[in-house]
Symmetry: C2
Subunit: 560 residues, 2 copies
C-alpha cells in the first residue's frame, strides 16, 4: 500500500483554511500515486479547540466543512480526516473526537477516539465520549486500524501503570489489521520524540503490522506540535520520516518498506530552539501580528528572546528597547546595542530615570520615612512594562516577555513589569537551558555578546544586585525545580538526591507561594513535560506549602 502523511499546520476554527490545506495535500499525494493520505488529529477544526466545541455553531461549521471537504477531495485516493462528531445518545458527553475515512466523494466509515487524555494540558474528558466500539476501516480490501493519538498510549507491555482500563490497539489486533494508523496531535516536549518512536516500534512488532504515525505540526497558543511524523514497518524499522517543525508530505510504500526520509533536528537543544521559533512565529501569525517588541536588559534572557523572535518573524520585524535606569550597568545598554547590531534588529533607547523619580515624588506623601525595598525595584520593572505596552498600542507590535522558567517558578519576576507581554517565549525554559540555547545561537558566529553570556545574572534593580543574593545558584535551583515541578518528586526524595534540605524547602515554598503571579502570566510556550500554565492547575489559597509547616512568609522578593 502506498500512503502519504500530510503533516499540516492547522489553525483552530479556520475551517476554510484547514480544508484548503487538506485538499491541496490530497492533490499532491494523488500525484505521487498514493492510495491513502492521512492527516493529523482534528485536522478540520484544528487542535486544541478547547471550549469552542461547546458552541453549537462551531460543531455545525466543522460538520459542514467535513461535507464540503468530502465532496471536493479528489477521487482515487482515500483520505483519513479528523473532525468532531455529535453523540446522539441521551446519556454521556455530547461529542466524539472523530476520524472520517473518505473515498470518492463519500464517507466510507467513521472512527472515534477511545482514550481521552484528561491530565496536564489535555481536557478531552471534558468534552468527548469514548468510542463505544472499535472496528477497522476496510479500504481496497485491506483492514486499517484507525486510532487517534492517546489510543496508542496504553500498551500493557510498555507502561507499568496504565491510565485506562482497556487498550484499543489490542482490540484492533484481535481484528487482524493490515496497517495501524495513528492520527495525532502530540505536543513537543524535550525527549518525547524518542518515547513516541520506541512505543510505536513496540506496537508494530506486537501487531505484526506497519504503523503510520501522522502528527500535527505548528504552534497553538502554548502548545508546539513538532510534526516528525513517521512510518515503521511490521518489524519496527522506520521506513519514512517527516520533517520536524515544518509542514511536510511524506510518501511511503509499505510493501516495498521504503519511503521519504527527511532529516530532523540533531538534538535536544536544537529541537528546543526550533520549537520556540515555531511557537513564536505561529502565535504571531495566527493572532495577526507581524512585528514584536522586546525590552532588552543586556541580560541573556532578553537576548535569547530577541534571537528567537528574529528567527520567527524576520529581523526587520523585531524592535528592541533598552530602558536604562539609574541602577543599570553601562554594560546593559552596550550589550543590548551590540546584540541588536549583531542580529540586525532596530533598537530604541528610552531612559526611565526621570519616570522613576516622578513616581517616587508622587508617592512621597504616602511613603516618606520608609526605607527603600522591593517597592522601588518593582516600580522600575513596571515603568518598563508600561513603555513596551505603549509601543505595542501605538505601533501594533506584540510585546514578547523574556522571563525564564527558573524565575517564574520561584516568583523572581514582577507582575505588570517584566511579566508584561502577549507571549512568554522562554517561560518554560530553565535558566541553564537558556545558556545552552544562547551557545547554540552563537554556534557559527557571536550574535549574543559574550559579555552577556559571561556576566553574573542580575535584575539590576538596585546597586550591585545579583540573582544569587536572593536565590540558590542556578545549577542547584534548576534541578530542584525540575524534580519538584516536572517529576512531582517529594521534597524528601530531592534531598536524598544530594540537595541541601534547607534549600529544597525554600525553593518548594517559593514555588507554592508564587502561584498567584503565574496565574496572571502571559501564555508561555511549553517545551518541557510540565510547564506552568493551564497544564498545571494549583490553588492560590492553600496551606500545604509542599508539606512544610506553616510559617510567617518572608517578604516578597520582587512583586506582590
Amino acid at each position: 500500500m502506498r500512503l502519504a502523511i500530510a503533516q499540516i499546520n492547522t489553525t483552530v476554527g479556520d475551517f476554510a483554511g484547514n480544508s484548503r490545506k487538506i485538499l491541496s495535500f490530497a492533490g499532491q499525494a494523488l500525484r505521487r500515486q498514493c492510495d491513502i493520505v492521512v492527516y493529523p488529529e482534528l485536522a478540520l477544526p484544528g487542535y486544541p479547540p478547547r471550549d469552542l466545541v461547546e458552541k453549537e455553531d462551531f460543531i455545525d461549521a466543522n460538520l459542514n466543512a467535513l461535507d464540503d471537504t468530502t465532496r471536493r477531495l479528489p477521487s482515487g485516493i482515500t483520505a483519513v480526516v479528523g473532525f468532531i462528531d455529535r453523540n446522539p445518545a441521551s446519556t454521556g458527553k455530547p461529542l466524539f473526537n472523530a476520524v472520517a475515512v473518505i473515498r470518492d466523494g463519500r464517507r466510507v466509515s467513521t472512527h472515534y477516539k477511545s482514550l481521552l487524555p484528561t491530565y496536564d494540558v489535555f481536557d478531552e474528558g471534558r468534552y468527548f465520549e469514548p468510542a463505544p466500539r472499535v472496528l477497522p476501516a476496510v479500504v481496497g480490501g485491506r483492514r486499517l486500524g484507525v486510532t487517534i493519538c492517546e489510543d496508542v498510549w496504553n500498551d500493557k507491555h510498555f507502561w507499568r501503570k496504565r491510565l485506562y482500563h482497556h487498550d484499543p490497539v489490542e482490540r484492533l489486533g484481535g481484528e487482524h489489521v493490515d496497517l495501524l494508523i495513528n492520527v495525532s496531535a502530540s505536543p513537543f516536549s524535550i525527549g518525547k520524540l524518542t518515547l513516541r518512536e520506541q512505543m510505536l516500534r513496540e506496537i508494530a512488532t506486537e501487531l505484526k503490522a506497519p504503523v503510520v504515525y501522522a502528527n500535527l505540526v505548528g504552534g497553538d497558543d502554548c502548545l508546539i506540535f513538532d510534526g516528525a511524523s513517521f512510518v515503521v514497518d511490521a518489524a519496527g524499522n522506520k521506513i519514512a520520516q517527516a520533517r520536524d517543525f515544518d509542514e511536510d508530505l511524506v510518501v511511503c510504500d509499505t510493501e516495498e518498506a521504503a519511503g521519504d526520509m527527511r532529516a530532523v533536528s540533531g538534538g535536544e537543544i536544537e529541537s528546543t530552539y526550533r520549537a520556540l521559533v515555531l511557537g513564536t512565529a505561529d502565535y504571531c501569525r495566527k493572532n495577526g501580528f507581524r512585528k514584536a517588541v522586546i525590552g532588552l536588559s543586556g541580560g541573556i534572557d532578553s537576548a535569547l528572546t530577541a534571537c528567537i523572535a528574529a528567527a520567527a518573524l524576520g529581523r526587520h520585524n523585531v524592535l528592541g528597547v533598552t530602558m536604562p535606569s539609574r541602577f543599570s550597568s553601562p554594560g546593559s545598554v552596550d550589550d543590548s546595542e551590540r546584540l541588536a547590531h549583531n542580529l540586525g534588529i532596530e533598537i530604541y533607547r528610552v531612559p526611565i530615570r526621570d519616570l522613576q523619580a516622578g513616581y517616587l515624588r508622587a508617592l512621597v506623601p504616602l511613603m516618606k520615612g520608609r526605607a527603600p525595598d522591593v517597592t522601588e525595584e518593582n516600580l522600575q520593572a513596571r515603568i518598563r512594562g508600561n513603555i513596551l505596552m505603549a509601543i505595542s498600542n501605538k505601533f501594533g507590535h506584540l510585546v514578547l516577555s523574556t522571563g525564564n522558567k527558573s524565575e517564574l517558578a520561584v516568583g523572581y519576576c514582577t507582575m505588570y513589569g517584566d511579566m508584561c507581554g502577549g507571549l512568554a517565549v522562554i517561560s518554560d525554559v530553565p535558566k541553564l537551558t537558556v545558556y545552552q540555547l544562547a551557545n547554540y545561537v552563537n554556534r557559527e558566529r557571536e550574535i549574543i555578546p559574550s559579555s552577556t553570556i559571561s556576566k553574573p545574572p542580575s535584575a539590576e534593580l538596585r546597586p550591585g544586585q545579583l540573582d544569587e543574593d536572593a536565590l540558590p545558584p542556578y545549577k542547584v535551583l534548576d534541578p530542584i525545580i525540575r524534580l519538584y515541578v516536572e517529576e512531582d518528586m517529594k521534597p524528601s526524595e530531592i534531598v536524598s538526591q544530594g540537595y541541601d534540605a534547607r534549600t529544597v524547602e525554600e525553593v518548594v515554598r517559593l514555588i507554592h507561594r508564587s502561584e498567584y503571579k503565574r496565574q496572571q502570566a502571559a501564555p508561555g510556550l511549553r517545551v518541557t513535560s510540565k510547564a506552568f500554565g493551564y497544564g498545571r492547575r494549583f490553588p492560590i489559597a492553600e496551606k500545604f506549602h509542599g508539606g512544610f509547616p506553616a510559617r510567617k512568609s518572608a517578604a516578597a522578593r520582587r512583586g506582590k
Copy 2:
C-alpha cells in the same frame, strides 16, 4: 435518627485546621445527642485541591490526617468525613474522591464518588477514578446511602439529557436505604439554591427516604461555596435548613421530621452580595492578607468594590486611592471622597498628571507626530495600576481590582492597568447587576453617592469619554453577553430574541477577540453559572470568531 450537618469552612491543604474543625463540630453534635454528623465534600484536604492531589505528600498528609481524626473523634457518634483515597488497581486514575464513615475510633466503611464532574470549573476526571461499586453504609442497623456531590445530579426524571450513563442514587434505591446522605461542595451561582432543592426533593420522594444535603461553605480562590445545607423528609418537605455564607451546625431528627431552621438570604441580589463579601474575606484570610487597597475612580464599580471590601475586612482595613488625571471630572474625586466618608474608610489622593506628562516626554522620540489614541488612555490606567501596586508592595495591602463582567467580556479594560490586582471582586458581575448591588448597599442609607449611581459610565481617559461611545448600552450589552457566555446560545438565536444583528455580531466578535486579556486577568469571584476564568477555556489563537467571517480587526479599544 438524630443527625447533624457540620457546615464548615475548610482551607485547602490545612489538614490540622480542617481536622480541628471536624473534631470541634463533632463535639457540639454529640452534646446535642446526635447519632451522626455529616461534613462537606473532601472535608479533610479542603476543596478543590486541584493539582495538589498529584503530590504524593499531599495524599499522605490527608491519609495521616484521616487516621489521626479517626482516633480523636468522640465515641458515640458516627462521623461522615470526606478525604482522598488511593486507587490500588494497576489501571485507571490513581485516586478516589472518598468518604469515611467513622465510629468509635475506627473506619466502619469507605465510599467513593461515582460521577466525576469534568466541565466548567470542575476537573475531577483529571484525578479520580469513579467508584467501582456503590453500597450503603450500615450504622446502628440503619442503611445509609452515602453519595458525594455530583452523584445526585444525574436523575433520569429530572434531567432531559444526562452526562453519565448510570445513576448511583438509583442503585442505592435498589439497596433500600433508610436515608440518603449527600456530601457536597457545590459552588454558589445565582439561582442554584432553588435548583438543588427541587432536585433533592424529587429524589427524596422517589427513594421514599429523607435526604441530608451537607454543603461546603467558604471562598476558595474563585469559587464561593454558599453552604445552605438542608434536610428534606421522605415526602420532600424541608425539615432542617443551615445558614448560607457562614459556618453552621444544624440538627435534625428524621423520625420527628423536625430540625433547626435558619434564615437564608432573601433574594438573588442579597445572596450575590453576601457571596462576594465571603469570597473577598476568605481570599484575603486564606492568603494571609488583612488589608486591601482599591483605586477609587468616582464610578460605581470601584465604589461597590470598596463597600464589599469594607464588609469583608472591616472598614479600617480598606484604603481607597483617588488618582485624578487631567481628564478626570471634578466629580470623580468628590464622589470618591464622599464614598470614603460614608463608608468610613481611609482615602489617599495621588494625582497622576505629572507622571502622565513624564511618559509622554519619554516617548516623544518614538511617537512624535502620531495622533493620540488608545495608547495615551491606557498609560493613565497603567500609571494608576503601578501606584496601587507600589502601595501594596510597601504596606502589604492586597490590591482589589474593580472591573465588572461586561467590561471583561468585551475587553473594555486595560491590561496591567485597571486589571491589576490580586482578586477581581466583581469581575463576574454584569454592569446592570452592579447597579442593583449598589442600590442594595444603599438600602438603609446612602453609602455610595447618588451622583456615582446616576452619572453615565465613563472610563474618563479622554475628554468627554463615555462607555456608550464604544459599547452598546448596558441594557443591550448585558443580555447579549449572558446569552452568549452563560447560555452558550447561538448568535442567530440571540438575534431572534429581538437584538440587533450587527450589535450581536460586534459583541460576539469582541468577546472572542478579548480572550488574551482575560487569560492574564486576576482571579475573579464566580457568581454566575459561567464566569470567565478557569471554568471557561478558550484558545487565544482561533479564527472562529463566533462563526462570523474573518475581517481585519478594528483598532483595540483599550489595551492591547
